[in-house]
């Protein structure tokens, strides 16, 4: 292991684009290690990823986005990396934004830097329902943690050692890591900031948020935020 930073890419059936993404990252961000967490894919994601030069952790069963991501954090802790960057496997996150995310964390200005797609760079437009959700929970999060939150559901983040330890622990919510995580971080005394990044909209129609899921999401977020506020300060 030559690097102090690990890029974590949770992936489920992304065999089509994962190779390209990894090569892109290696081109634009030299000097970091890359690990793909294959969340029980039925396609050749693992093969494509290792051919492109990334390490691959293969989960025996599908755990979902949060569970796969957390596996990456456990890997970070087991292998002595100091910093981690989480990035989506579907190509929505632009790898050249990674240095901008890492900088404040490496400088110690924040424990975690979250990439916001609404802070000016790029031209990301969300769908109506998603927009409402983002606005609502972003607003709640902003009010509760005392800083403006423009993008609460971002999966594009650079993390320092304290946050990695926190995410790898039992406190980490595995369904949809977002607004409630911001509040938990705040309660745990960890500093989060937002950094503008470039994001692209989904190229295929397949959405994580279809049918009853948005309803469950809203319910789950309210419950999670409420419970987080009730808990004593997290160590």
């Amino acid at each position: 292991m030559i690097s102090d930073t690990l890029i974590i890419i949770p992936a489920y059936n992304e065999g089509g684009g994962i190779g390209r993404l990894i090569k892109d990252i290696r081109l634009k961000v030299p000097g970091v290690d890359i690990v793909v967490v294959d969340d029980g894919s039925s396609d050749d994601t693992a093969l494509q990823a290792s051919s492109a030069g990334a390490k691959v952790i293969r989960l025996p069963v599908n755990l979902g986005y949060g569970g796969a991501l957390q596996t990456g954090f456990k890997y970070v802790l087991a292998n002595g990396y100091r910093y981690a960057v989480q990035i989506d496997a579907d190509g929505q996150h632009e790898p050249s934004s990674i240095p901008a995310l890492l900088e404040p964390v490496k400088k110690g200005e924040a424990d975690v830097a979250m990439g916001s797609r609404f802070m000016g760079e790029g031209s990301y437009k969300a769908s109506f329902a998603r927009g409402i959700g983002m606005w609502l929970f972003g607003g709640i999060a902003s009010a509760l943690i005392g800083r403006k939150v423009t993008d609460a559901t971002t999966g594009f983040q650079a993390l320092g050692p304290n946050v990695i330890r926190f995410y790898a622990s039992e406190n980490y919510p595995v369904d949809f890591p977002d607004a409630d995580v911001l509040i938990m971080l705040h309660r745990a005394g960890l500093k989060s900031i937002e950094v503008p990044v470039v994001m692209y909209p989904r190229t295929d129609g397949r959405s994580m948020h279809s049918g009853l899921k948005p309803l469950y999401y809203v319910f789950k977020m309210f419950l999670s935020i409420f419970v987080t506020l009730l808990r004593k300060t997290l160590s």
Partner: protein, 118 residues
């Protein structure tokens, strides 16, 4: 004692014996048998002293004794299913941790195999 009391007594006794036997054979864990054993004992008790169902019902404002009985049965079902939800939550968490450990170990093994092969 009328027919319904005898039937209730026999059925609840059979459940009690059945549950205890499942525990004895190791097919039912002791802590999940607690609710079942308590409930069958309670039903056996009320089967013998059936006027107590009426008394209990009147206490909470129910005047039709079958309703009081069903309310008790319903509460029992809710408690059992709540216990299941708690257990399932714990199992899910453990399951996730196991899957993660396996994945990390698998990578380690693959790397060690590669190292020893070269």
């Amino acid at each position: 004692m009328d027919k319904v009391q005898v039937v209730s007594l026999v059925v609840s006794f059979c459940i009690l014996i059945g549950v205890i036997d499942l525990v004895r054979r190791g097919k039912l864990k002791e802590n999940y048998s607690v609710l079942w054993i308590c409930t069958s004992l309670i039903i056996m008790f009320f089967a013998i002293f059936r006027h107590l169902i009426d008394w209990l019902g009147r206490l909470v404002g129910i005047y039709y004794s079958p309703s009081a009985f069903f309310l008790m049965a319903f509460i029992f079902i809710m408690l059992i299913t709540l216990q299941f939800s708690v257990v399932i939550s714990k199992l899910s968490e453990r399951n996730k941790v196991l899957a993660q450990e396996i994945a990390l170990l698998r990578l380690k093994v693959e790397e060690l195999e590669r190292m020893s092969a070269s």
